[in-house]
């Protein structure tokens, strides 16, 4: 039981971190980005290449990989999302494009690195045992890093001009525009941060489990569940939602076979849609 709670917190903080970018895009650009989770995988593989193939240390690999993931987010904004914004594309086109991107990213990874599982080059350390619960080093690092980044996101959104502009755009893009906010610039940064955070989450997830081509894809449903639970467009809601989803998935093993963990996310999501479609904390969109 206690062990499941620990595992749930670890998974929850990873989902929470990744869901921040998903909910920001959802709130600002108004569409469900099905490719988001595959950038987690992308981040993990880039860090893997830097760490294992090029022999850089893990911390340096981490930062470079996160920057590359964020840069890819910006590049795709220029190539795909911005032209579509110019055309005033409706949200269904954007969703279908995002699923196309998801297929491209995941299969490019399989094409280059194959389908087998990989690991970072790290010394194996014994877990810490307390009260009959084992916590591995990687789990501690994962939760610590995730919390650190969530605090950074909080200060960014509340204290910086860019963060405030991002919140303004999420509330009402037209109102933000006429108040003189350069929405394209803000959206570009939103992609950098959102996809960068997905990269962070992917690397942490790779540390905690293994690196494999569909590691992110299998988290897309829990991530959407976190976003919808927390209210679309609400980064804090996504953080809490991610924790709730992570914990419920792990704790569900008390009553359900572990194969159906994913069903828990789906179940929670359907309940929210039926009874509280704006989410627990109210999002900017319904």
């Amino acid at each position: 039981m206690l062990q499941l709670i620990v595992n749930g917190i670890v998974l929850g903080s990873i989902i929470a971190l990744a869901a921040i970018g998903l909910t920001m895009v959802y709130g600002v650009l108004n569409f469900a980005n099905f490719s988001h989770a595959d950038f987690m995988t992308f981040g993990a593989y880039i860090a893997f290449v830097l760490n294992v193939a090029l022999g850089l240390n893990i911390i340096l690999s981490f930062f470079i990989a996160v920057a590359i993931a964020g840069a890819l987010g910006v590049l795709l904004d220029f190539l795909v999302w911005k032209p579509m914004r110019r055309k005033n594309a409706d949200l269904v086109s954007l969703i279908i494009i995002s699923i196309g991107l998801s297929l491209i990213v995941r299969n490019a990874i399989i094409f280059i690195w194959g389908g087998s599982t990989r690991n970072f080059d790290l010394p194996v350390q014994r877990g810490i045992e307390m009260l009959g619960v084992t916590i591995t080093h990687n789990q501690l690092i994962g939760v610590g890093t995730a919390i650190l980044f969530m605090v950074l996101v909080h200060f960014f959104l509340k204290k910086t001009k860019l963060g405030k502009a991002m919140r303004a755009i999420s509330d009402d893009i037209n109102l933000a525009r006429i108040s003189g906010i350069d929405s394209d610039k803000v959206i570009m940064w939103m992609w950098f941060i959102g996809i960068g955070l997905a990269g962070v989450a992917g690397i942490l997830y790779g540390l905690e489990t293994t690196i494999r081509p569909n590691m992110g894809w299998f988290l897309i449903l829990p991530m959407f569940a976190a976003v919808i639970l927390g209210g679309i467009g609400n980064p804090y809601g996504a953080m809490v939602g991610g924790m709730v989803i992570g914990l419920s998935q792990e704790l569900s093993m008390l009553i359900l076979p572990s194969e159906y963990k994913m069903g828990v996310s789906l179940g929670i999501m359907i309940l929210v849609l039926l009874f509280k479609p704006r989410g627990l904390f109210g999002g900017t969109k319904t």
């Binding site: 409706d90 269904v92 969703i95 076979p257 069903g263 039926l274 319904t286």
Partner: protein, 297 residues
């Protein structure tokens, strides 16, 4: 050679049926169903399981179709009153749950070992190669479905669907119960996918959960989008093109220095790129009418 063409054509026909159901949902009504394969699986497994427990094959097929439609209803109820994208998210989860169920409930489905040993319609009485009969059965069904759908979408009912796709607020302002129309479209589309599932089982003679991975859904999507959304003819053309592409790339496998997993990945990447480019630059597809579609404008 003829045998080979017949075998390939059967696959084209099954995918065309599968995709034409999606075309009703997406092309005509604007519903984003990312879990279409779940209904294919329900149709296939219900047909086989019913038959193996003693039901005649026609009754088994009918149960598969009905059960697929019923699950369409179940998935539609919590999602179709809300934003379009919720359906996309819930259906993709639904199809994965279906696959996990088939994989893990071994008492019912034999899990990864799959199911084989079941009747096929008239197999006992067909004096010639059964594939020829299956070919006739599949294309006969495709023709019937095509004609019925063409009739439906040109009826007042079909015009309401299109108006929902273009702007559902207008449809509901005109007093149309938008939710009911959407549910009906999803149920009919799912029933058609269920029938495709039965044919898939007849063609493979052995089904297992690996036949029903999410990628199957996106094959149907590229077929519909490429052929032209809301064009049933286009869907059939799309099925022919996509299957030719699939078969063709298998042939060149021997001549390119790529491992088979790389070839498979490349194939899916091409489909992804095509999906993105079509939605960006030619959302009406090959046969669609641009004037009719407000997509991407």
């Amino acid at each position: 050679m003829i045998d080979y063409l017949v075998a390939i054509s059967i696959i084209v026909g099954i995918y065309a049926i599968f995709a034409i159901g999606l075309n009703l949902e997406w092309g005509f009504t604007g519903l984003i169903n990312f879990g279409h394969v779940g209904f294919l699986a329900i149709g296939a497994y219900t047909t086989v399981l019913m038959n193996q427990s003693g039901a005649p094959i026609w009754l088994s097929m009918a149960s598969g179709v009905v059960l697929a439609a019923f699950f369409g209803l179940l998935v539609g109820i919590p999602t179709l009153r809300l934003r379009e994208d919720y359906l996309a998210i819930v259906t993709i989860g639904f199809s994965e749950i279906v696959r996990l169920f088939l994989l893990n409930e071994e008492w019912l489905t034999r899990g990864p070992m799959g199911l084989f040993g079941f009747d096929r319609p008239f197999e006992a009485v067909i004096p010639f190669d059964y594939n020829y009969f299956l070919f006739i059965l599949v294309f006969g069904s495709l023709a019937v479905i095509y004609l019925l759908l063409e009739k439906l979408v040109h009826s007042p009912w079909g015009r309401v669907l299109k108006s929902i796709r273009e702007d559902e607020d207008v449809a509901s302002a005109l007093g149309k119960d938008v939710f009911r129309y959407k549910i009906q479209a999803l149920m009919i589309g799912s029933a058609i996918a269920g029938l495709a599932g039965a044919f898939l089982a007849f063609n493979l003679q052995y089904i297992n959960p690996r036949n029903f991975i999410p990628m199957e859904t996106f094959y149907a999507w590229i077929i519909v989008v490429l052929g032209g959304s809301a064009r049933n003819k286009g869907t059939i053309l799309g099925a022919i093109i996509v299957q030719s592409f699939y078969t063709g790339t298998r042939y060149i496998q021997d001549y390119v220095p790529l491992a088979s997993h790389q070839m498979a990945a490349l194939r899916v990447m091409v489909i992804g790129v095509l999906l993105v480019l079509l939605m960006m630059y030619k959302p009406q597809g090959l046969l669609g009418k641009k004037e009719e579609l407000t997509l991407g404008q």
